[in-house]
């Protein structure tokens, strides 16, 4: 079971089961725990090769044992996500921990990825269970529905789930080339039905500079 202790520490109570967590993110534990690095995120040879090729590197470890284990990463805020068979798309750098039962993989994002400064691929998490996401500052969850599409700054986007289509929008005009852009030249537009997680902070992206 995942629970939050404060907003920046994730406590996981384990009784012989396992969780996958970001490499080196354990801060404390009691009881008996074993830590094992999962090469290629525990996705087998195929997943490992895919990750190498796509550059969506993710170093995860498997934590297994009895007791409570606490995770944290650079004082980032932690958000819990419950997955009931649906698919979560998340940047690998924003993924802190998942239930061992959840499958992780990579997916192609197109130009959107490049604008986020995270490459052309993103990580997917699928199955039934819980996942913990990292965000710089407390994240807000925004709902996307058919009537209300959502447009997000690529640097503030962290994850999304549900049946959502994403497209890339650019507001590049003559002014942008003159160095007079508003700093919001690129956006991601979400349409469909689902949830988008947004952090109150922007990563350094190409989009933020123009």
């Amino acid at each position: 079971m995942f629970r939050l202790q404060g907003s920046k520490v994730l406590a996981v109570d384990m009784t012989g089961d396992a969780v996958k967590a970001k490499n080196g993110s354990m801060v404390a534990y009691d009881g008996q725990m074993a830590f094992k690095k999962l090469s290629g995120g525990g996705e087998g040879i195929r997943g490992m090769v895919t990750r190498r090729l796509t550059g969506e590197q993710m170093t995860m470890m498997e934590v297994k044992g009895h007791g409570t284990c606490w995770f944290a990463d650079r004082a980032s805020e932690i958000n819990l996500v419950d997955l009931q068979g649906d698919k979560l798309y998340v940047e690998s750098s924003n993924l802190l921990a998942t239930d061992a039962g959840l499958r992780t993989g990579t997916s192609f994002t197109g130009v959107r990825g490049a604008s986020q400064g995270n490459g052309l691929f993103t990580t997917t998490v699928e199955g039934h269970g819980q996942a913990a996401l990292l965000s710089d500052g407390p994240a807000v969850v925004l709902r996307v529905s058919a009537q209300y599409p959502l447009t997000v700054d690529p640097g503030a986007y962290i994850a999304h789930q549900g049946n959502v289509r994403q497209s890339f929008q650019s507001g590049v005009t003559f002014r942008t080339f003159m160095g007079e852009g508003g700093g919001e030249a690129f956006q991601i537009r979400f349409e469909g039905d689902g949830l988008v997680y947004v952090q109150p902070s922007e990563r350094n992206t190409i989009a933020g500079d123009v």
Binding site: K8, A28, D30, A34, M61, A72, D73, A75
Partner: protein, 216 residues
């Protein structure tokens, strides 16, 4: 008690005549009333011998004495501040994490090698904390800085707690600590899980852990 948390990164201390407190030099943000701040060459209490001790041990942080009557606000570097109340037991903390503490507390320096022998010294090197640590003993409160929030994990004789050395902040109570290693062949070939070294704390007391693996 003298320390009141204004928010997670700032504390207010009440100073009354005849009571003094120590704080890290330059950590005062604002004050009200008639308060004087004296740089403390000795780096704390205990006279000349203790000062030499701290210098040698590298546990000498620039402290100042705060006296007078009024209220003082303390904060430093935007770090989170945790107030720990001591009721007669001993708190072990790195000197550079100390923001402020009651003048009634007895300050000392402890040689880590005396706990755990050679492994204790290795511990100090690995954790980057050096061979010595500061102890505070008595009744009063201590304000400790940490990167990110702090959680308190209780230690009971049945349940020793393992802590990532970089996330360790302080501990109090009757606790023994040693460095435990989980070095396997995977770590040797660069395939480690990043959790090769852990501090094992056993006994009874509590350990404070920060939500980050960055030192101050």
């Amino acid at each position: 008690m003298p320390f009141r948390e204004i928010n997670s990164r700032m504390i207010e201390a009440v100073v009354a005549p005849g009571q003094r407190l120590f704080s890290q030099r330059g950590a005062m943000l604002a004050y009200r009333g008639d308060v004087s701040f004296t740089p403390n060459v000795q780096g704390g209490q205990g006279g000349f011998a203790s000062m030499i001790g701290r210098r040698v041990a590298g546990e000498a942080t620039p402290l100042m004495t705060v006296e007078g009557s009024g209220t003082v606000l303390f904060g430093h570097g935007g770090h989170h501040v945790q107030v720990i109340e001591l009721a007669g037991d001993t708190l072990y903390v790195e000197a550079d994490r100390l923001l402020a503490f009651d003048g009634t507390l007895e300050q000392g320096t402890m040689f880590m090698g005396s706990q755990g022998g050679v492994m204790g010294m290795v511990r100090g090197q690995v954790t980057g904390q050096g061979l010595f640590t500061t102890t505070l003993k008595g009744h009063g409160s201590v304000a400790v800085m940490a990167h990110g929030g702090v959680i308190e994990v209780p230690i009971t004789p049945q349940r020793p707690v393992h802590v990532d050395p970089q996330a360790y902040v302080a501990h109090h109570g009757d606790v023994r600590n040693k460095l435990s290693t989980a070095l396997g062949w995977r770590d040797m070939v660069g395939r480690g899980s990043g959790e090769a070294f852990q501090l094992e704390l056993s006994g009874s007391g509590a350990v404070y852990v920060q939500a980050s693996e960055e030192k101050l």
